[in-house]
């Protein structure tokens, strides 16, 4: 398609001159960009302002500019052009003129005085006027609005998590589904009532501490939204702030650091005493570790060293080395040890058999009266029963019942035998292996066995978990030294020095490399109302 563009200029004298240019192209593009066929040096024109092209019903002018293009004084987006039409783009005026022969379409272009005729180069010296038309101010306000929406409005409406200052502890995950459950009133700290909605607080803080704590809020110690998430304050200061300087009349010594400012361990020993009625009573006595050596009074006779002999110990099944765990079995959870019992732990070796002819027979473990009774019953049965050697057999003729006198004689003989065997058991063979037995002359049952109770928890106010200490480097004996203990009165609980091999100060820099930082809360708990002897 051949277009003719007639450039019309007005010279200084006022007369017009024109020069023709023939363009052989499918379209005439009009705009400020340098790639436009008709290049307008006019800021009011867009880079690509309008296009003149042949369509099925004639030549059209189309414009994608916001206000379109002005044709004959009217804004148009798409218009078929006819001769005489006047097109305005900014200050430039184009007219559709009669096309000469051989030309498909012709326009004239008046170079307006108002249009900038300056070289485009001149505005290069200006500072860059923005980023794609965006000034700094406009970008700033846009970002401010975006941040306000993302940081203030959206979380308020739908995504409250975006306001979280840190993770919620898993223990609170269901409670924390709504921030308002704890943060009851905006701009006010979390009140204790919010905690009390789920937690029973009264069992937590025991009287001596409540006096000191006063109105301290729960959340000042139990802090949420921290990393790592932790609700229990394990900080040394939690205890040491008060306990480093106890009042003079306090029963407690100062304690501020496990490494070198912690009192000697005190043991809670279960000790027997004989009451007015002669019965043994047990009570807990607190003793300093240094004053407690050999002070255990369980009334048991036991030699750890013999049992743990490296060459083994004689058992009904031959000589065998036994280890600690055969008797000392951890509780489920691993904190303490399960109680020791004769039936479970001793009886396999320490059988209570009494008749060499019948080694499977044994007396029950327990009350001496029951033991004696079981022996009498055993021998009575032998004398009166089917045993061919029994007394009754010797006395009785076939088909003849025993007379009363014969029965009394048999019973007396059985009792004599039973007492003989019992004396052997109580005073020489079985019981005295483990028990202290006293003789009571003239009584029906002339022996009394001292009752036995083992201290199950030597530290009532400290937590210790065996499970937590089960490591490659520790063995039972490395702390308890049981293999050297020959008496049950030995206290095999290690002292604070033993703990300090591995546990040091709360302040890492004070510790040796082998010591792990240890704060009070590692072993102790905050003042609990339930604090006291375990029942």
């Amino acid at each position: 398609m051949k277009y003719l563009i007639r450039f019309i200029t007005t010279n200084a004298a006022g007369s017009t001159e024109h020069s023709d240019k023939i363009v052989d192209a499918p379209t005439i593009t009009i705009g400020r960009a340098t790639d436009q066929v008709l290049h307008l040096k006019d800021r009011r024109a867009r880079l690509q302002h309008a296009t003149i092209e042949q369509q099925s019903d004639g030549v059209h002018i189309t414009s994608t500019a916001l206000g379109g293009v002005t044709v004959n004084g009217r804004s148009q987006r798409d218009m078929r052009l006819a001769r005489g039409d006047v097109i305005e783009v900014g200050a430039n005026i184009l007219r559709v003129i009669e096309a000469p022969d051989g030309i498909d379409f012709a326009i004239s272009f008046e170079l307006s005085g108002a249009a900038s005729s300056e070289h485009f180069v001149t505005d290069w010296s200006a500072a860059a006027s923005g980023l794609g038309g965006w000034s700094k101010r406009r970008i700033s306000w846009t970002l401010v609005i975006v941040v306000a929406i993302v940081a203030l409005i959206l979380p308020g409406v739908a995504f409250e998590k975006f306001w979280l200052a840190g993770p919620v502890h898993s223990a609170h995950s269901s409670t924390a589904s709504e921030c308002e459950n704890c943060h009851v009133t905006p701009f006010q700290r979390v009140p204790d009532d919010a905690c009390a909605a789920c937690h029973k607080v009264d069992r937590h803080v025991a009287p001596p501490a409540t006096a000191v704590l006063g109105t301290t809020r729960c959340a000042s110690c139990h802090l949420e939204h921290n990393e790592p998430p932790q609700l229990v304050n394990r900080h040394q200061g939690l205890c040491a702030d008060c306990h480093q300087d106890m009042p003079a009349d306090s029963t407690l010594e100062d304690a501020s650091d496990f490494l070198d400012a912690h009192p000697e361990f005190k043991l809670s020993l279960l000790l027997p005493s004989v009451g007015e009625d002669g019965a043994t009573e047990w009570s807990v006595s607190h003793r300093l570790m240094s004053a407690a050596q050999g002070a255990d009074q369980s009334n048991l006779v036991f030699n750890h060293a013999v049992h743990l002999d490296e060459s083994g110990i004689v058992t009904p099944n031959g000589r065998r080395v036994i280890d600690c765990a055969e008797c000392h079995v951890p509780e489920p959870g691993g904190a303490r040890m399960q109680p020791i019992s004769m039936d479970e732990h001793c009886s396999a070796c320490h059988t209570l058999s009494f008749d060499p002819d019948d080694p499977s027979r044994s007396v029950p473990h327990g009350d001496p009266e029951v033991v004696l009774q079981s022996l009498i019953e055993y021998y009575s049965a032998r004398l009166l029963g089917d045993d061919p050697d029994a007394v009754a057999q010797r006395l009785r003729r076939p088909g003849q019942a025993l007379s009363r006198a014969e029965r009394d004689r048999a019973a007396a003989e059985a009792r004599v035998q039973a007492l003989e065997v019992a004396e052997d058991l109580f005073e020489r063979r079985a019981c005295t292996n483990c028990h202290q037995v006293t003789q009571i002359d003239g009584a029906d049952v002339p022996w009394q066995v001292q009752p036995v109770r083992l201290t199950e928890s030597f530290f009532l106010h400290a937590n210790f978990s065996h499970a937590a200490h089960e490591t490659e480097v520790t063995s039972c004996d490395s702390c308890h030294h049981a293999s050297q203990s020959e008496s049950a009165s030995d206290v095999l609980i290690p002292g604070i020095e033993n703990c300090r091999d591995c546990h040091g100060s709360a302040l890492t820099h004070r510790n040796q490399s082998s010591q792990t930082p240890s704060t009070c809360i590692m072993c102790h708990r905050f003042h609990y109302a339930s604090k006291g002897a375990r029942q």
Partner: protein, 292 residues
Amino acid sequence: MHESILAFRKRRYLWLALILSLLAIAAYLFDDPQEPANGGTVLGYTLGTISTLLILWLTWFGIRKRRYSSTVGTVQGWLSAHVYLGIALLLIVLLHAGFQFGINVHTLAFVLMTLVIVSGLYGVYVYMKYPGRVSANREGTSRPELLDQLEDLDRRSQRVAKELPADYQELVSSGASRTQLGSTLWARLRGNDLSRIVLRDDDQTKVVANPGQEAALDWLAEQQSRATDSESAAKIGELSALLRNKRRLLKQIGADLRLQATMEIWLYLHVPLTAALLMALFAHILTVFMYW
């Protein structure tokens, strides 16, 4: 004697920033709060307050630098302090937060602040390096002088073209008026030569890209090879020489524009991000105390 903003008054603000940083680090190391270090401890609140005041003061620089009548220090001093204390701010805020991050408003404020500081550091780099590069590129002339040279080349080309057929005049005049080295900041940064030229080829009028005057020079070379008389061949050769000069000049001007744009572009991040930071900081402080 010119004194760099970094070396201003024996680096007094560097020392101030260093002392502030060391104090903050020492306080952080010696502080032993009963909870993991975070913005809610006594030290956390203290460092947070210092950081907020620092941010407001650093932002105030944007206003102070326009107050030409102000006698509160010199702008040079303010900028020197702005740079050093701005860097110290990053450390103080990290200590304030106890190095705790998350996907939340608080970390958003931190990220925006970091972006502001990083863009500022780039700005310092640009201000240290680029003025020298601009001078080196201009080779002792100024931008208006370079543009005058360009106009002079165009005028001389047109004079030569007038003695040649109309096609040559069209080539030169369209080449002159359609010379463009990027109008937008982005185009300047990329150093694009958007120049075009109108060529007549097989009786077709074409607007073709003319970066580095390549299209024009190629067309002239082709015409020269076809030229039969030595006189017009000499004129075409003269025209080519002029356009090659123009190419060199355009390259120089393009580099000048690119350097200038680089010195301006970082502010398009630094300033708007600061505005965003202020909003995020407001959200951070508001929500922290709303959910106290």
